[in-house]
């Protein structure tokens, strides 16, 4: 059984079919990249898997459980972690507090009206931050961080529920090339240590071909090619469609 199974999922905006009868799987310990030109339907796909959007048709199954149209908070409880294309962190908090808030939520203490929140899950938060290389920055306000570091904070938060599946929407956008690879190495390490599956979108083809076990190519809402990086790279249609215009 695969960890994530997406079957015949469609979603329209008016007359535009953003995602059209898409099916794919992600297995445990697998890193799958979802690529395609702008407007191909990647973000919609992510939204549907992440619970931000509801599909018009089709099903999503996570670890054997039907989760189609389930809200993000429930998906979090079922072991889904995600990061966003435009980073979203809690700007009024420090880096550690961001992660603590996610950890507190995982521990189901979010509604507790007493006790100091800053004292909860401190060590775990620091562990996670050390893990993503932000241990030094833990007490800084989130608002002060560089963009690349914010991506790491998001990653640390996404790991707070010890996820089985990690969704990463353009995880390295806006980072310098060496940092990009470092981040993806980090993710690959997590995949090994935690038996985690990763589904990610990415514009940087070096990252895609360097860090994905499998690649799905989306165009006009449909999957036009799928396979290991080597075969996708060789696929003529993919080259014509996509790689030709976006490879620098």
């Amino acid at each position: 059984m695969n960890l994530l199974e997406v079957r015949n999922v469609s979603r329209c905006y008016g007359s535009v079919r953003a995602v059209d009868d898409v099916s794919f799987d992600v297995a445990a310990r697998e890193r799958v990249a979802l690529i395609g030109p702008n407007g191909a339907g990647k973000s919609t796909c992510f939204g549907i898997v992440g619970g931000q959007m509801r599909p018009d048709a089709g099903t999503v199954t996570l670890a054997g459980e039907r989760v189609t149209g389930m809200d993000p908070a429930s998906l979090f409880r079922r072991g889904l972690g995600r990061t966003f294309q435009v980073t979203a962190t809690f700007a009024s908090m420090t880096v550690a507090e961001n992660v603590q808030t996610a950890l507190t939520s995982h521990g189901r203490h979010s509604l507790r009206p007493f006790g100091r929140a800053t004292r909860l899950s401190r060590t775990q938060a620091h562990d996670l931050l050390d893990r993503v290389g932000l241990g030094e920055q833990a007490e800084r306000p989130c608002a002060e961080l560089a963009y690349g570091d914010l991506k790491r904070v998001e990653l640390a938060m996404a790991l707070a529920n010890a996820p089985r599946l990690l969704l990463m929407d353009e995880p390295t956008a806006g980072m310098a090339p060496p940092d990009r690879h470092a981040l993806m190495e980090l993710v690959s390490g997590l995949v090994q240590d935690r038996a985690l599956a990763v589904l990610f979108t990415e514009h940087d083809m070096d990252i895609v071909f360097g860090h994905a076990d499998r690649v799905l190519v989306l165009d006009h809402g449909r999957i036009v090619a799928a396979g290991d990086p080597g075969s996708v790279r060789a696929n003529a249609e993919v080259r014509r469609l996509y790689l030709g215009e976006s490879q620098p």
Binding site: G50, G51, Q52, D71, P72, A73, F76, R77, G81, R82, F84, A88, T89, F90, A91, S92, M93, T94, E97, Q100, T101, A102, T104, S105, H106, H109, S110, L111, R112, P113, F114, G115, R116, A117, T118, L120, P141, A143, E154, M157, A158, A160, N161
Partner: protein, 622 residues
């Protein structure tokens, strides 16, 4: 109703809608572009009427009347220019809604200025030359001037539409309303765009005021009636949408005329005077609209980017903070030993409003949900306590315990609808609920005492001494405030802040944003309800004013004056505002002018609120 009646009432409704639209279109434009909630818009309308009449009478005749319209518009526009360039421009970067405080100060100043210039008596303006009387169409009597107004509204809409669709300036205004980043990309001098829009919006308010000359005397109460009506139209229509505003104005105008036309209706032997519904019909419409269409009739969702800019780091207070609070409480508890009775009475008011403001701050600050109708919960708590004592004869302490309960219930009901919205729409939905609650209390003579309210509800013997009651209020208010602060620093408060800072992110880490916000509503309402209940016993009674718009506005002013960004902000704001108002009220003739001027100075000196400003000062000195 006959056909003739229907036709007449339709014209009445549409004529009213025209001026309402002119007034609201200006407000909508200003909000759309500058995001300023401009309370002073109604004041400019009022001044438009006064100026119009003055010009029309000074020049005289037909020339005078028709000249008065552009002159009133020009003077209101000039005032708008002055306000924008001297005051608002300095506070655009302040936290969300802070500009509201500046415009509130302007309302106070402009009102007293108008009183000084034009005196206290209403001034009835001239009739429009050539349009003095009515025409008969069949059996219907139609006022000629109303017919004229019916045409003016659509004409102005068409003219504005043309400007916004055909000129570069109009394009920029639309861009600013819908997409801030695009505006930046166009390389526009935002400053002058803002000024231009402010002037245009103000001129429209002035014109609307002047157009009312033949229908309504200039009076000092025009500003507040105008501003509430205009807000309703803008929100029902959708912020920044002129066509929506027009539609909303027509809808409200016609609905009101319909209520009046129906008069007393009998349903199943039970007669009801529908004309009394005019008290609340526009707010009911607003509640229904926002519940069904969260962005109004013609509006669209606002981009989410703007929120984040205003968030500052909130530090969890340490042991020194709490020691300071304990010391302050001890000092307060010792106050009866050294002060006179009146100081204790005033201090009790300060305590009550401190709790009220803190409860509003809980929603506005950590919750990111500004409420324009927070007095509803204060009032529901107050009426609960009063009725519990009056009807059930329960002791004061029991009444004080019941009040937060019903208020929390009301908060949960209102909150259930409100948490689905955000920003000004949320704020206005709370206002709509508050007005509906107010009108029920105002009308329900048998239970609530109607417009007079209830009195004779004093503390029992053991607490009747001013000092004892003060200490009781101190204990309860301090407990309430500390409880709210505890929640802010607890996981719940962090979840609430997380939902405010980045709600999608919060959802993705398992925080159920709506549920958290909903509970926050209940909690804030409970605290406000306790404040309301204490108020009843402090005053020996209450009237519907405890839950009217001015009390909600006072709450907002306190929170903003103190500073949204700090925990102690509302405490400082409530104490400062209550004391200032008491002082100016007792010691000055034109107290509104003085109070307004002081607030305006505070706005300019402390764009983060007084407490926020002091905290920054301390940081800089350290």
């Amino acid at each position: 109703m006959t056909v003739a009646d229907t036709l007449s009432q339709l014209v009445n409704g549409l004529a009213g809608a025209s001026t309402l639209f002119l007034l609201a279109s200006g407000l909508s434009l200003i909000f759309g572009v500058t995001r300023v909630v401009n309370f002073a818009h109604g004041s400019l309308y009022m001044i438009g009427t006064y100026v119009g009449i003055a010009v029309a009478e000074h020049v005289g005749g037909a020339t005078g009347f028709w000249l008065a319209l552009p002159v009133a518009a020009a003077i209101a526009g000039a005032l708008g220019f002055a306000v924008e360039t001297t005051v608002l421009r300095r506070v655009y970067r302040a936290p969300e809604l802070f500009q509201l405080l500046a415009t509130f100060a302007l309302v106070l100043i402009l009102k007293d200025a108008t009183l000084i210039v034009w005196g206290p008596e209403d001034v009835l303006g001239p009739r429009a030359p050539g349009l003095e009387d009515a025409v008969r169409v069949g059996d219907a009597t139609l006022a000629k001037y109303d017919l004229f107004l019916v045409i003016v509204g659509p004409l102005v809409l068409a003219a504005l539409d043309l400007v916004f669709r055909r000129t570069r300036w109009g394009l920029l205004v639309r861009a600013a309303t819908q997409d801030r980043e695009m505006l930046g990309a166009l390389g526009v001098n935002q400053r002058w765009l803002f000024t231009g829009v402010f002037v245009l919006g103000s001129a429209l308010a002035g014109l609307a005021g002047a157009l009312q000359m033949p229908r309504e005397p200039a009076s000092l109460s025009l500003d507040l009636t105008a501003i509430t009506d205009a807000f309703v139209v803008v929100v029902v229509g959708g912020l920044g949408s002129l066509r929506g505003a027009f539609l909303a104005a027509v809808l409200i105008g016609v609905l009101k005329a319909l209520c009046v036309a129906l008069g007393t209706v009998e349903v199943a032997g039970w007669s009801f005077n529908v004309s009394k519904l005019t008290l609340v019909i526009e707010f009911a419409l607003m509640a229904v609209t926002l519940a069904a269409r969260p962005w109004g009739l013609g509006g669209r969702p606002f981009p989410l980017e703007e929120r984040r800019a205003t968030v500052e780091l909130a530090k969890t207070p340490g042991i020194r903070f709490w020691l300071g609070i304990v010391a302050l409480l001890v000092l307060c508890a010792l106050a009866p030993l050294v002060t006179d009775e009146y100081t204790l009475v005033l201090a009790t008011d300060v305590l009550v409003f401190t709790l009220f403001a803190t409860s509003l701050h809980f929603l506005m600050g950590p919750g990111g949900m500004a409420s324009f109708g927070h007095a509803a919960f204060f009032g529901i708590g107050a009426y609960t306590a009063a009725l519990a004592v009056r009807s059930a004869g329960v002791p004061m302490l029991v009444a004080l315990a019941l009040a937060p309960g019903t208020a929390a219930l009301a908060g949960l009901v209102v909150g259930w609808f409100c948490v689905r919205l955000s920003g000004v729409y949320l704020a206005m939905l709370t206002l709509a609920f508050a007005q509906i609650a107010w009108s029920v209390v105002f009308q329900w003579d048998d239970v609530t005492g109607g417009s007079n309210g209830l009195f004779g509800i004093w503390p029992p013997g053991w607490a009747s001494d001013r000092a004892t009651f003060y200490l009781l209020a101190l204990a309860l208010c301090a407990a309430g405030v500390v409880a709210l602060w505890t929640v802010v620093n607890a996981p719940f408060g962090f979840a609430l802040r997380a939902a405010r800072d980045a709600s999608t992110r919060a959802e993705a880490v398992g925080i159920r944003v709506r549920r958290v916000r909903w509970l926050a509503f209940g909690l804030a309402a409970a605290a406000a309800g306790l404040a309301g209940a204490l108020y009843v016993f402090a005053k020996g009674g209450l009237s519907p004013e405890v839950m009217a718009i001015p009390r909600s506005v006072d709450g907002l002013v306190m929170v903003l004056l103190g500073g949204v960004g700090t925990l102690v902000g509302p405490v400082v704001g409530a104490a400062l505002f209550t004391w200032l108002q008491d002082f100016t009220l007792r010691h000055t003739e034109y107290w509104r002018l003085v109070l307004g001027a002081v607030i305006l100075l505070a706005v300019l000196a402390f764009p983060n609120g007084v407490a926020g400003g002091l905290a920054r000062l301390r940081e800089r000195l350290a």
